[in-house]
Structure formats: C-alpha cells, structure tokens
C-alpha cells in the first residue's frame, strides 16, 4: 500500500502547486505592479523602481484612512466581543424559552446583504445625528461581526465542562467570580480567534462604510476606492502591499501569542483535557 501512494505523490504536488499559484498570482501581480515604473498601472511593467513607496509618505490621506480603519475595526471588534460573549453566556449557560430564536436573530446579520444594512444604518444614524463619523461605523460594524463572535465563542462555551463551574461554585465562588476565573480564561483562545477574524473582516468592509462615512473619516478601503477613480498610478498597489505586510505581521503575532501561552492550544482542542479533568 505505501508504495502505491508514493507513486502518485507527484500528482498531489502538482495539484497543490496549481492551487497555490492560483491563490498567490494576484498578490504577486500587485507586488510587481507596486514596484513598476510609469504613472499608469500596467502589466507587464516597463521597469522596476521603489519610487512609489517613497511617494506614499506624501499621501497623508492614506495614513489617516489607515488609522481610521484601525480605530473603527478595533472599536467594532471590542464591542462585538463583549456583546457576543455575553449573548453566548445567556444562550448557552442560562438557556431560556426562545433562546434558540434569539440566537438565530443574532446570527442574521451574517446573511443580511451588507448594502441593505448600510442603507438602514444611514437612515437610522442620520436620525440620530451621528451619521458620517467613525462612531456610527463602529456601531454598524459591531452588528455585522457580532455573529462571528457569537458562533465561535458560543461553540467554545458549549464545549466547556459544566463540572468546572460546579466545582468552582462548590469551592465558594459566586457566579461572577466563576465567569471571570473559570469560564473566561478557558475562552481566551476563542476570543482571540473570533477577534482576529472579526478584525480582518471589518478592516476592509466597504459597503456599509461607503454609505455611512463622510469626507474626513474615510477608512482605507474607501480611500483606495476613491483614489482609484481618479488616478491610475501604482500607489494603490503600494498601499495594498503594505496592507499585506500588515496582515502577515498580525498573523505571526497571533501565532506567537498562542505559542507563548502553553496549554492554550489544548483548551481549544479541549477533548483530551476534558476527559482527564
């Protein structure tokens, strides 16, 4: 048997290589474009240069937009993490009549067309006189990423061993203390995971941001979009490459956090730990 599988291993490599290439090709093109000469985005490039990277420093609107994006995403994620964890707590640990319906309702922003939500927010936030600012965006985005938190943290919470909470209660801990010393620490990894996914998701959200935001509080995707409408130079590609670098850094940072916290991986896997304890 092992011999037979070895014979066809090359096929696996070819397929995997093809898929990898398909996934990476657009990124490679962006990187190439970002270092191409000339004022128009052209492929293949006429020559290679780093001058567009230098010029990016002058484009202050991109830095501002980047900071706006970070602030909006961070705010939305923080809001969604708190609300999502509390919602999961209610639905999973204190099930009540209609908790299933509530869960489905909380998950619904996932399937709702974002542009519809955007229009709805525009109307609502205009009435509240907060439309146009980042605060409005944070409120809107939090609702959109809320389902990620609810589903990831919720399923992790459902896998927690209820006996741990009982043991803590038996040792004298009240419900609040149990939440902070038993439940929450065991959800660390899921919170990190849900937070990262939600952050990445909100970071390049266009639809709602496009409708809600006004000049001055544009986020990076909007700024890029607007820039591309006017200019064809490789600046957009340069910004994209910087974003890719940013995403990779974030990814490695998270990996590092996970690795530096021993046992945290077990918590997500859970199975083995639960049997033992």
């Amino acid at each position: 048997m092992p011999k037979k599988t070895a014979d066809f291993k090359w096929l696996l490599y070819v397929c995997a290589g093809a898929v990898g290439l398909y996934l990476l090709l657009p990124l490679l093109m962006i990187i190439l474009t970002s270092i191409s000469m000339g004022t128009a985005t052209k492929f293949p490039p006429e020559g290679l240069t780093l001058e567009w990277y230098g010029k990016l420093a002058d484009q202050k609107q991109f830095l501002q937009a980047f900071l706006n994006s970070i602030a909006a995403s961070a705010g939305a994620v923080a809001l969604a993490l708190v609300a999502g964890t509390l919602a999961a707590l209610a639905i999973i640990q204190y099930p009540f009549r209609g908790s299933g319906v509530l869960r489905a309702f909380f998950m619904s922003p996932m399937v709702m067309p974002k542009i519809t939500l955007g229009v709805a927010y525009l109307i609502l936030f205009s009435k509240m006189h907060i439309a146009g600012g980042l605060f409005a965006l944070i409120l809107g985005e939090a609702v959109i990423v809320f389902p990620f938190v609810l589903s990831i943290v919720g399923s992790a919470m459902a896998n927690l061993n209820a006996a741990h909470r009982e043991a803590a209660a038996d040792l004298g801990a009240g419900p609040l203390r149990i939440f902070f010393t038993i439940t929450l620490p065991q959800l660390r990894l899921s919170l990190l995971l849900a937070g990262s996914i939600a952050f990445v998701f909100t970071f390049d959200q266009v639809e709602t941001a496009l409708l809600i935001l006004r000049q001055g509080s544009y986020t990076l995707p909007i700024q890029l979009f607007l820039y591309m409408e006017k200019w064809q130079d490789p600046t957009v590609a340069v910004v994209s490459v910087v974003l890719i670098a940013f995403a990779l850094t974030l990814f490695w940072a998270i990996k590092l956090v996970i690795r530096s916290a021993p046992g945290i991986e077990n918590l997500l896997g859970g199975g083995q730990d639960e049997r033992r304890s």
Binding site: A163, H164, E166, A167, A169, G172, G263, R276
Partner: protein, 375 residues
Amino acid sequence: MSDGQGAIAIETRHAVKRYAGNTAVDQVSLQVKRGEFVSLLGPSGCGKTTLLRLLGGLEQPDEGTVLLSGKDVSGIPAYGRNSNMIFQQLALFPHMDVYNNIAYGLKVRKVAKEEIKRRVHEMLELVQLGDYSRRSVSQLSGGQAQRVAIARALINKPEVLLLDEPLSALDMQLRLDMQRELKRIQRDFGGTFIFVTHDQSEAMNMSDRIGVMRGGKLLQYAAPDEIYERPADSFVAKFIGDTNLLQVKVLGTEQDLVSVDCFGSMFQIRQSKGLAPFQAGSLRPLSIRYEYVRLGEAASRSANRFEGRVIESVYGGASIRYTIDIGGRFQLQASALYQRGDIRYNVGDMLHIGFNPEDGLLLNDDSSGKGEAAL
C-alpha cells in the same frame, strides 16, 4: 446543635427531587454523624448522585430539608455551604496548575497570600504530592489528579466532604490503593466523608455505614455487617454480596424455626429477630449466601440436607464457585474455600448439599422478581 459541634454533621429529612416527572430522590431521610465515612450504594440511576448533589447544594430539594450541622441549608446554593465535593470527572481546572487548583477555594475566601501558601503545601503533604505544585493539570496521572482533587476539596476544611464516584475511572490496583489512601486521609483529616459508588466491595471496604438506594429510595442504611447479614429485602441481599434467592412457601412456625417448602423440599429456617412472624401459606424469598451452602462432608452436619449434581465449576484461586442442579427443580450457587489438596468436584458429580437454619434468611418482601430484573 447550631454551633456546628453537634453529633450530626449532615442530614436530609424527607428530601424529594424530581426531574421531568421522574422522582430521582424519593422521601430520603439520612443522618450522617460527625467523622463518619458513609457510602451511598446503588445501581446507576438509583438517585445516589442526585442525593449527593442535594447534600452539596448543587441541586435544591423539591420537598424536604437538608441540614448541615443542624442548620437548615435548603435553598442555599453550593457556594454558600461549608461542604465540598469531589466530582466523578474530578473537574480540575485545566487552565491552572496544581497549586492554583488547590488554592482556589482559599483565594475565593480572600485568605492572605502567605496563609494560602502554607495551607496549600500542608494539603500537598497530606495527599503526598509535595513537589507537584507547579505541574500543569494535564501532566498528572489518574491517581495524582485524584489526589489534587481531594486536596482542592479539603483545603476549605469542609464540615462534610462529598465524593461522587471519584475512583470509578481508575484501574483495579490504583483503585484499591486510593481506597486505602482515602481512609488514611479521612483519619488524618478527621472529617465526615460521604462517598457515592456503585461498587459494593468499595463500599464495604471503606464505610462505617452504607446506604443502599434503588429507584430514588433509601432501602437500608446500616453498618456493612448488618447490611450483609440482615439485608432489608431481596434487592439489598442480591446487591451486597452474592446470594441465592429462592421463592419459598411458608408452611408454619415452631418456636423460632420456620418450615418452608422449596420446590418440593422441606427446609427449616431460623426466624430472624425483630421480624413479624410469617404467615403460613405466604410466599417469601429465601436468601442463602453462596459461602453458606455446605458441600460434601460439611453438609452431613447441616440441618437441611439434599443432593445435587454439579453443572458448572469456576476456579477462583482461593475459592471455587459451583453451580449445582437440585434434582432438576432449582439451582444453587455455592462458593467453597479452596486450598491445594482439598476435594474439588467435577462437572457431573453428585454430592450432598446442606445449609443450617441460621444461614438461610427469609426476607420480608415479595419483590424478588423485580429485584433481579433491576440487576
């Protein structure tokens, strides 16, 4: 009584707990003296764990009361009671090391750091895990995890320690070691232990008193020897130790000897003290312990004698268990002590069988059929 120094550590009075129409605990009244080691024994689903959870405050009774040191604690949740529990799955906190697991109960009570440190190390000494304080919980073996769970539960100096089948996941040898260990800890610690188990030998090994439960009811609550020698009914007789249960018809009572008819044979049974006289003509289960059935030579001195044919012989080292067919009418199990050189019967051998009037026990119930079905 309310000063916590009374003789009764924990008590339930007519406690009832129902789940979705099922009565898990049915009118149970149980008193446990301070310093006693009590086992709650019964098949799975008999309500013993629910009763333990009622005692610990993890469940609240629908009716009746729970008293801890004479104080009514019904309605007070687990975190308000000075009793601690060791869970079946131990439930050690996986995100904490051994030290923090054990220290948890003290931290909750906001004990000073130095004091926590001292007491955790005291506890680690008690359970003989001196060097393990910084170990992660996932690195512990079954027996070590067991000890950590015990230390964690005892650190609050509970008035009562509740143990929910904590040994059931261990292999046989470790289990026997932990049984001894638990007894030692109880001696050193001097607390009241209530131990839930479905293993009758575990209960016999460790307990001062055993409560046998079935279908939510506490059938009998007595010292191990009393339960073994004078079981309250056929279920208890069958559950604690091995016994033959035969359906017999009472013929009459003469002085303290009861004559019964058992599938056509006449037997004399000594009337047990304290039981109401048996009505002639009534049907009763007769219990004869395996080891009380005499074989061969020994049977000739017995008051009740008959003959039988060996149809099965199981070698068990120190003893041999025979299944004997009595003239095709009924079968008996007999367990005979065996040492090298003793007579050993083979399948097909005819032999004399007997038992003494005081070794048979007429039980005061007619639920033997139900009892066997439940096993």
